[in-house]
Amino acid sequence: MTTSPTVLPDTNLIPVAGRKQKRRSLLHRVFMRGPGMVSIIYLVVLVIVSIIAPYIVPYDPNQIDLRAVLQPPSPEHWLGTDDLGRDVFSRLLVAGGVSLAATLQAVAVGLLFGVLPGVLSGYFGGWFDTIVTRVADVLLSFPSLILALAIVAILGPGLGNAMFAVGIAYAPRFLRIVRGQVMFVRNETFVEAAISTGIPRPKVIWGHMLPNAWPALIIQISFMLGLTLIIESSLSYLGLGVQPPQASWGSMIGGSKAFIEIAPWLVLAPGLVIFFTSLAFNTLGDVLRDEVTGGRGQ
Amino acid sequence: MTTTATPGIEAPPIGRQPLLRVEDFSLDLAPSGEFVPVLSDINLSVRSGEVVGLVGESGSGKSTLALSLIGLVPKKISKLRSGRITLGDTEITAGSRRALQSVRGSKVGMIFQEPMTALDPAYRVGDQVAEAIRRHTGVSRAEARRQAIENFKLVEMSDAERRADAYPHELSGGLRQRVCIALAISCRPQLLIADEPTTALDVTTQAQILDLLRRLRDELGMAIILISHDLAVIAEFCDRVMVMYAGQIVEESPIDPFFIQPRHPYSSALLQSLPENQPPLQTLTVLPGSPPPLGLQVPGCRFAARCAHVQHGRCDVTPIDLTSRPPRAFRCVRANELSLPGAAR
């Protein structure tokens, strides 16, 4: 069974009554799957470590020690030191928090600018919908990295700006999904029933339509988190994202590029972490999608 | 005897040697994981020039049997439990892929139920038939195309030259089915298997296609296996009929005696439920219940649960064998005691 990318089969379509219960069981079901469990555990551990990072780092991540420059991994420095003698492991831990926070920020911006227009567009239709979807389509045809770069050019380099830019670049995607789900649900009779019993429209939208859009949205969020992490790393690698003295995983790689031959661990360690984290997000998205569509989605 | 629709042309005599032999054929399928028996103890033979009907409900296994006859059941989900199928000199059940490919199309042709999706949408219909011709005879492209158009004319396609350049989506269902027939007979096979060829067509086209098949059989001398759930079609067309139920053959008989007096309760029930058979202005009687699910092991007769003449202790204990009383055969322990109503013709 194939479905269009933005609309899910209506197997989970229920009026709101069982909402909380349904969401808890989805998480449960995802957790029960092997890859799902591994991804969730990895991400939870990562988040916890990133939050407490400042308190558990063995060294001050910004502490320069020119006598211990470019040292390979050792018992004192688990991942060695960089070109300024800073402990890579400590930097990695702290940079994790920066990267993750930035990723969440971008997705949040995307949701902010995507969900509301999507709901309105799907619900009201008409010329409003046509204009919004045309604009979204044009934006989607831009390479998202280039769009982000353009917005960064307007706003100036800096992590906050970069993530805002990335979020804007994503908004059309979320918009499309939410719009699709809302349109799909709009025609269901229980919505009519709710409206006819006098429930004000916004409440109907908020209370009935959105919950049914959640599954598709959550899946997309998961994938977007993975993608955003990579884009953030890329921008920071180029020097357009996080600015020194702050560091993210991407900027760590960017700063160590010159030393790759003599100190490959400087590039390997942050890269591997980015890879695994992105992999975890993507796997989570895959498992979520399998669970929600109830079959091996191709 | 069966009608021959084409005046002036005599139906070719039915040959002595069996063209197709199915011996004790049992097949397991694994549609989702577990292998379950789908066909059991199938014995069937077709002689050249014969028209045999195979009738059964959906789920009886008739389409799987049809595919098995040319070895098209996917190997990955099927397992031969016993028996073999021989077409002429080639053993289908043990044949190499090459052997099967050379037999298909040239010795045996097959047409399917759904003409709308049976042709490749990316190629013109003439090219598709020409390709099959070239595959089996190795003639030049121009010659193959010429023959393809000849075949289109043979299947009564008007404006054949122009139609040959059409894409499938430009043709109606009836026309597409004619193309499929042309494809199937293009290399003059000795046997044509038609799996519900008219079910997806409207009534007028149905009649036309059946007439066409009858004419082709008269002119080309092919044997035909016609698979259908529609007894009326079988009645008009076939010399002999075999009734399938739940993966087994439950009755085999020449056509006229079958209609006058069937020997198996299921056959009788089928005949009774023909609309022509029923008193006018009354509710149609249908056969209650449904066949056992695929692969379910049923002790004794598989029809027992729905049979009006069932005797507990006799019918539902041990598996029932096919009793052979040539030219008829039936799988019922009570057949000799019962006098089953047939159909008014």
């Binding site: 045309r134 044009v138 045809s141 831009f142 390479p143 998202s144 990295l145 280039i146 770069l149 353009a150 917005i151 050019a153 307007i154 380099p157 993975g226 993608l227 990579i230 790393s233 890329s234 690698y237 180029l238 357009l240 991407g250 790689i253 590029k257 790759i260 031959e261 590039v267 890269g271 980015i274 890879f275 992105s278 992999l279 993507n282 796997t283 191709q298 | 098209l72 892929r97 490919q101 037999v103 298909r104 199309g105 399917f112 759904e114 999706t117 049976a118 042709l119 490749d120 949408p121 990316a122 190629y123 598709q128 390709e131 595959r135 089996h136 894409y167 989506h169 494809l183 199937a184 290399c187």
Partner: protein, 315 residues
Amino acid sequence: MLRFVGRRLLFLVPQLLLAALVVFILTSLLPGDAAIARAGGESASPELIAQYRAELGLDQPLYVRFFDFVGNAATGDLGVSFSTSESVSEILWRTAPVTLSLVLLGFIIAILIALPLGIVAALHPNGWADRVSLALATTGVAIPNFWFGLILVLIFSLSLGWLPTTGYVAFTADPWQWFLHLLLPAITLGHALAAELTRQLRAALGDHLRRDYVRTMRAAGLSEKSVVGKHALRSALGPSVTTLGLQVPIAIGACVVIEAVFNLPGLGSQMVQAVFSRDVQVLQGVILFTVVLVVVASFLADMAYALINPKVRAE
């Protein structure tokens, strides 16, 4: 077919105009403009700036400026870079071939990987090819491009010394060197593209192999080579071609980073520089060119799809 092409071409013009509009709006929001740059910077006297503004037509209402912009762009005049005073068109002329070479080579490598892998995976579900393509798909999405490129450089250039590390050699100067220098970047790009292409091809081919007409062809005795290679594959290529078209914007985006890693003087590097120096003219020109490229690529993909699938031409 000709009518189809003609109709699509008509669509092209409004599409391009719309894209140009978006680019124009985007860059109008950028702080700093040609007048300020000409006048020597933000600290120049306001009168001087105003004078240049009038001269360059920047004080005109927006829609007039837009028409000027489109008109100029159509004739190849995209302004002058603030930082280097080189004309933007010259910059594009110089850098576009690099990026285009990279994208072309990247796609070729992606197809070389995806085609055999996708076909084998579709023919043998759950076989080794299927697993490999799944692994490829997962890593292709999760691996950061720039990191993958760096690793390739580490292994193949620095450790093994087989390939040069950075830089670009023009095809016209030395084709072999051109190829060697582009090989690692193209593999980096191709790997990311191959993931989605393989997935798409496998799905499409798998779907077509299950269709009725394949059964008809097999029943007619056609060889597997013909059934799969000539018939099923041709129809399956349709959606894959569309995917190829959709991958172009992704590829161009990836080029930005890949060019940075491998020091290739292409559109991507140019764009990054322009962002750093807030060079509006260059940014505008590069983005416009990129968008035009994407629209044209999408158009070509549609054409290819219509060639493969006759049903589409009838619409």
